[in-house]
């Protein structure tokens, strides 16, 4: 591995000049710079990451904490991850994947103190999230994918649940539906309330109220099986419901397959509109799911960009709190109410 000293020798300049040539932090005779760049290319010189981090007091790595220990990570989460990883890479940063139980606070602190990280991206945000406070106390820049109850000045990227809910309900209202099911997610450990669950549910209920829908809520775990059971339950208890607004993705797919088995023709007899299903899952069912799309990749990108903007303390080009709506994507699972 060639070092900076090698380059300096070859180019006939001092070591520090090499650094400046590469960083552009100070003006230089073009000729000198050219000579240096040639030497760099010749020797295949790449700055040493650790040396830079040690001397400069700032590393070029950010971490993404994610809950991937046991359960399969959700398809949406994956898109956030790839989006963030790509954005980081595009800006010369490394994205470190840190599998971490949502509650492993000690670990998070420890890790953040190792000096490897310039900043941290958090997912699966709870309404009250101790990780956020802890990292702020440690003075580690963070950006959330999701948001806590009190957002204050914390940078985040999240869905615009209100807009999504409105788009969904007004579309169903236009189709003439009056009584609809609402499939919501129930998590195992009740105390850990994720912002996404709570906000999404309340916004949909609010939007539904203003459309005067009659709502039957079905709160289930996010599994295909749970979705299947929910379908049976709705069919039996509320046979007059004509549509479903669905949040948990796996359960949504279970619901759909169960409906067809029960002889419910979709979308002719019953409409299904999914609000939290990523595009890459859409094609798996038949008919393909009508959704309000989640720009998860872009959101992941945006989160990384916001974080890196902070680090560079550059004029933050983008708003540090962003809401993304997504758009109604009409596909085969929705149609006019059969009661019209």
């Amino acid at each position: 591995m060639a070092t900076r000293a090698d380059v300096a020798r070859l180019a006939g300049v001092s070591a520090s000049t090499v650094s400046y040539a590469l960083s552009g932090e100070r003006p230089m005779k073009p000729e000198t710079r050219a000579r240096i760049l040639a030497a760099v290319a010749e020797l295949n010189y790449v700055p040493h990451f650790a040396a830079g981090a040690l001397a400069g007091k700032r590393s070029k790595a950010i971490a993404l904490l994610f809950a991937g220990s046991e359960l399969a990570i959700s398809p949406v989460a994956l898109e956030y991850v790839t989006g963030a990883a790509n954005a980081a890479r595009a800006r010369g940063y490394h994205l470190i994947l840190w599998p971490s139980d949502e509650t492993a606070l000690a670990d998070v602190k420890r890790f953040s103190l190792s000096g490897l990280l310039a900043g941290v991206l958090l997912m699966e945000i709870r309404l009250e999230d101790e990780r956020v406070e802890a990292l702020q106390e440690l003075n580690i820049p963070i950006t959330l994918i999701g948001r806590t109850k009190n957002t204050g000045e914390i940078p985040f990227v999240d869905r615009d649940f209100s807009a999504v809910a409105k788009a969904a309900t007004s579309y169903l209202a236009d189709l003439g539906h009056k009584k609809i099911g609402l499939l919501t997610q129930r998590r195992g450990k009740d105390e850990l309330v994720l912002g996404v669950d709570s906000r999404f549910k309340s916004e949909v209920l609010t939007a539904a109220k203003s459309e005067s829908f009659e709502i039957c809520e079905l709160s289930v775990e996010n599994s295909a099986q749970a979705g299947r059971e929910a379908c049976a339950a709705l069919h039996e208890n509320h046979p007059d419901a004509t549509a479903l607004v669905a949040l948990p993705d796996l359960a949504t797919m279970g619901f759909l397959s169960a409906a067809q088995e029960l002889g419910i023709r979709i979308p002719h007899d019953f409409s299904v509109l999914a609000l939290n299903t990523p595009d890459n899952q859409v094609g798996l069912t038949w008919p393909p799911l009508c959704t309000v799309t989640i720009p998860a990749n872009e959101m992941g990108r945006a989160a990384a960009d916001i974080l890196i903007d902070q680090l560079k303390a550059e004029q933050t080009q983008s708003r540090i709190q962003q809401l993304w709506a997504g758009e109604l994507s009409i596909r085969g699972t929705t149609a006019k109410s059969p009661r019209l």
Copy 2:
């Protein structure tokens, strides 16, 4: 951030003694060690990553190269990633996600020269893969998830395609099937032949031959739509086929839904056995897919472990070339041949 000097001061020892206490690289009076550990806890000391890497010449980070730039990463790949990330973390290493086009060789080299990485995990391995040679030339330890044509001494973790194929075909033979479809994957760029595609296909063909199956191959892209079309084609051209062995996961799900739409009752009329579908996708269809399972999480773990074993040059506890078979998991999509 507390530094090693702070700890030394508090414990009343020299700085190096702190290092030795933590690494255990030399014997020490238990009492001294205890005092040091107490000071470490008291000050919340965490060794500085960059300083360690710089001084010790070896970092504690490994990278996982993955193709996640544009297309959605596949569900299986995700499990490899989480498995590897968890294993790395468990052993005190960091897993860096490096989104990298399969062909971006220059980038890979560059990255590997930055001194950040102790080793590299590669996925989406092609039969001829220049990344492998390049990294070996740079003397970067690697481990593959998948394998090249000539495996030589290269450490890898891969599926035991032969075992999988045999399990699948013998099961279908037991059920009395004689003529079966084989759904294989066709990639966009033809020259980049992934080992998984080529090996899987040939092993299934071999196993099928020894069971005297009549095989109709359907080569498709891995999308639900392509799977749907394949189903229609098979139904029309080979109505006497009674089962399908399926490789590409998304296409498999498309095939299944199309079959039901065409009025083909599964599994009564037709059996479907998926060989490359991860567990977390299984519940999404109805009936749930019969598969030969992919121990992807464990494989990811194993890959990271093998790599880290190499780095530590410890007695490599595990074989450096591992094949994982997975097991037949009988679920609702297979049954006796209707022609019996």
